[in-house]
């Protein structure tokens, strides 16, 4: 089709400005860091250990998550039971579950005073020690098993139902179905799922901060934090930041190359009729996998609620002040996310072609960026001008927004393209341009994804324990940082209460915005 004979309007400059801002946040901070790094020395033995541990734990975490996700996804794909839809929805929850809250739940189950230790004590065993590599792995599997399951389930459901019908007609046994249908599908889906979870585990900070640590379980991200916060060795922090960015960029590029499946797509609750899996043995096997995975994911969440309710009364007043600060940061961050994502998506869609893809790519760059690197860079840039501590909360909101941006663009982009495809020509022929078109056509059509993006970015920011840990003093703590402080002081009842409050606020923010996007939305 010929190019539209209409002016580009203000959309493209606004989008390019948003893209430039994101580039500055991702690469500008990196440049600031790199410039500083020259002053520092080389890498010490501890730094090499951190690099090795980062890659080792990420590979192991991703491998375990994906390996366990295969039988769970298979059971979900081929079984129908009451609550199946609910279980699949719950698998999406860890994505917006604040990491520190999940850790509190895991400690309640596997910690020194947790349920497992209590059960083992009469046998003369235990208590279980959750700190170290195995604790980090446990938490990473807790957070990434659901995501990997959703990604792999997507692959299962992408196999046309007709294939299974044909397989049944040809008399395929379970082994034949595995060989002819499932293994080829897994070969396509697994690399993407592995790389996504690997990337998440490489950048994971809060899990390692709480469950790792010590010379044998320190990641690069954690080493940056230590160099910055405790040793105030900016040169070393900068050097480690560069290494962290390099690892993330390499993993992200590999993930792009193998085309990652989208894990948040609709239609995941569509069950499949499977004739080949109708054996008692297979049914029991599937039930066992679903039961174990369900327990592993749900018991920690249930413990957060139970212990949290008891702990609510124990919370110091500082928790409420921190909760209020976190709410404001979350709302600002959500607004900034949409303020960046909307012009970026509109401009990329309008430009189309290579230039549109390039703009979109600039927005997605934050996938490879680490929040701590961004925070370190911003500190180095702001340090000579203002007191960075005074800017701790605004910087947190902006960095959180940048981290949410890739998800926002993925949610908005396809709906925007579909709107243009279905209604663009009608709008053109009626003379709907510029702001009028935005108001009457584009925004109403984008309502659902916009609600989702606002909810997601608010929830992610609410629960984030990352860049805030670099800057804030106790007077400016957000709720996750306050919670971390309570855990560090072994005030476990108060911590449980704060965890429940944080959980309720994060899920509540997501629910309110996402609902708002759906309510009364005419299709």
């Amino acid at each position: 089709m010929a190019r539209r004979a209409q002016p580009l309007g203000a959309v493209v400059p606004a989008g390019v400005a948003a893209g430039a801002l994101v580039l500055a946040l991702c690469l500008g901070t990196l440049a600031a860091v790199a410039w500083r790094a020259e002053a520092g020395g080389g890498l010490g033995a501890a730094d090499w250990a951190a690099i090795r541990f980062t890659l080792f734990q990420a590979a192991l975490s991703a491998g375990l998550s994906c390996a366990l996700a295969i039988p769970v996804a298979r059971a979900l794909a081929r079984r129908q039971f009451a609550g199946r839809g609910l279980l699949i929805t719950l698998l999406g929850a860890p994505f917006i579950l604040p990491v520190i809250v999940g850790v509190v739940g895991l400690l309640a189950l596997f910690g020194r005073n947790g349920m497992v230790s209590a059960a083992l004590a009469p046998l003369g065993l235990g208590p279980v020690d959750i700190y170290g590599l195995h604790g980090v792995l446990l938490a990473h599997v807790f957070f990434n098993l659901p995501l990997a399951t959703r990604l792999i389930l997507q692959g299962w459901l992408a196999i046309p139902a007709e294939r299974f019908r044909l397989a049944a007609a040809l008399g395929f046994g379970p082994g034949d179905v595995v060989r002819r249908l499932e293994v080829p599908m897994l070969r396509e889906v697994l690399p993407g799922a592995f790389l996504v979870t690997f990337l998440i585990c490489v950048t994971s900070f809060a899990v390692v901060l709480t469950l790792g640590g010590g010379p044998r379980a320190t990641t690069v991200e954690l080493a940056i934090y230590h160099a910055f916060r405790f040793e105030f060795d900016l040169g070393r922090a900068a050097l480690l930041s560069l290494i962290q960015f390099g690892m993330c960029a390499a993993a992200a590029l590999m993930a792009l190359a193998v085309t990652v499946p989208g894990g948040f797509g609709a239609g995941l609750d569509r069950p499949l009729k499977r004739w080949d899996a109708d054996h008692l043995g297979l049914r029991m096997q599937d039930a066992a996998w679903l039961g174990l995975a369900g327990l592993f994911l749900l018991v920690p969440l249930a413990l957060i609620v139970l212990r949290g309710l008891a702990g609510l009364a124990e919370m110091p007043a500082a928790v409420y002040a921190a909760a209020l600060r976190s709410l404001v940061v979350a709302l600002v961050s959500a607004a900034v996310t949409v303020g960046l994502a909307l012009p970026l998506a509109l401009a990329a869609n309008r430009l189309g072609g290579l230039r549109g893809t390039a703009l979109q790519g600039a927005g997605m760059l934050a996938i490879a960026a680490s929040p701590l690197v961004m925070g370190t860079g911003l500190f180095l840039l702001l340090f000579p001008v203002v007191d960075p501590v005074a800017l701790a909360l605004p910087v947190t909101a902006v960095v959180n927004a940048a981290m949410s941006l890739p998800f926002a663009l993925r949610a908005l982009g396809p709906v925007l393209a579909e709107t243009e495809r279905s209604h663009g020509r009608l709008a053109d022929s009626l003379g709907l341009h510029g702001y009028t078109r935005l108001r009457l056509v584009t925004l109403p059509r984008l309502r659902r994804p916009l609600g989702f993006v606002l909810g997601l970015s608010a929830a992610l920011s609410m629960g984030d324990l990352g860049v805030i840990a670099l800057f804030a003093d106790p007077a400016q703590a957000t709720l996750p940082l306050q919670l971390y402080g309570l855990m560090g002081a072994y005030r476990m009842e108060a911590a449980a209460g704060a965890a429940l409050l944080l959980l309720a606020l994060s899920l509540g923010l997501f629910w309110i915005f996402d609902r708002g996007g759906r309510a009364n939305a005419a299709v």
């Binding site: 089709m1 010929a2 539209r4 004979a5 209409q6 279905s422 209604h423 020509r425 009608l426 053109d428 022929s429 009626l430 003379g431 709907l432 341009h433 009028t436 108001r439 009457l440 056509v441 109403p444 059509r445 939305a521 005419a522 299709v523």
Partner: protein
């Protein structure tokens, strides 16, 4: 007069030539197989496709390169003729002002147009609550308010049953007659042409054949048309 003056449209290896004219107030059917280029020609008139060479003129004015909204045409697409999130009255009102800031006289005009297409009192409904035929009527009401002298129909009634389709074609003919509008309609069914088109042009073999009076053409089809009719 709508004139195609040595128009040549290219899309990849596909090529369509058009060199003919339609007198004001006539209804011309563009008849041909799918993929022959009927919709492409309509798109060129509406401004969604730019010809590689030649000119399209209306009353002597060159409109070949004008933006879609500035052309003397209203178009009905095969589908998506209404915005699903806007009410019936809002969809019709877009024909008067794209920003929908309507005066009370304009609101009355919207109600009048809806009454004219047999949908009096439907203004508050959403498109999703209407049947396919009713949705087509809403789009026609908007066309009425836009008051453009050329109406382009890209098979908007293809999804309707035979009785409903002929009802809609009759409505189009009546509205066009009232307004004195020129109509170009795409169809693959000679019965549609016979129903309302005074002239018919065959689109085949990469060109638009010259229009002829529909009755005579269908009674004694030339070779190319005979091949299409089978």
């Amino acid at each position: 007069m709508l004139r195609f003056d040595g128009v040549e449209i290219r899309q990849g290896s596909f090529c369509l030539r058009a060199d003919f004219e339609v007198a004001p107030g006539r209804i011309l059917a563009l008849l041909g197989a799918s993929g022959a280029g009927k919709s492409t020609l309509i798109d060129a008139v509406a401004g969604f496709v730019t010809p590689r060479s030649g000119r399209i003129t209306w009353q002597g004015q060159d409109i070949t390169l004008r933006p879609p909204a500035d052309r003397p045409v209203s178009i009905l697409f095969q589908d998506n003729n209404l915005f699903p999130h806007l009410s019936v009255a809002q969809n019709v009102g877009l024909g008067l002002r794209p920003d929908l800031r309507l005066s009370s006289a304009q609101h009355d005009a919207v109600a009048g147009a809806l009454a004219r297409v047999g949908l009096a009192g439907f203004g508050g409904r959403m498109p999703g609550q209407l049947s396919g035929g009713q949705r087509s009527r809403v789009a026609l009401a908007r066309t009425l308010l836009r008051g453009r002298p050329v109406m382009l129909l890209d098979e908007p009634f293809a999804a309707l049953g035979p009785a409903l389709k002929s009802e809609m074609l009759d409505l189009v003919a009546a509205l066009a007659k009232d307004a004195g509008a020129t109509v170009l309609m795409v169809t693959h069914d000679p019965e549609d042409a016979r129903a309302i088109a005074s002239e018919t042009a065959l689109v085949a073999d990469g060109r638009v054949h010259p229009p002829h009076p529909t009755g005579a053409l269908l009674a004694d089809p030339p070779e190319a048309l005979r091949r299409y009719l089978g």
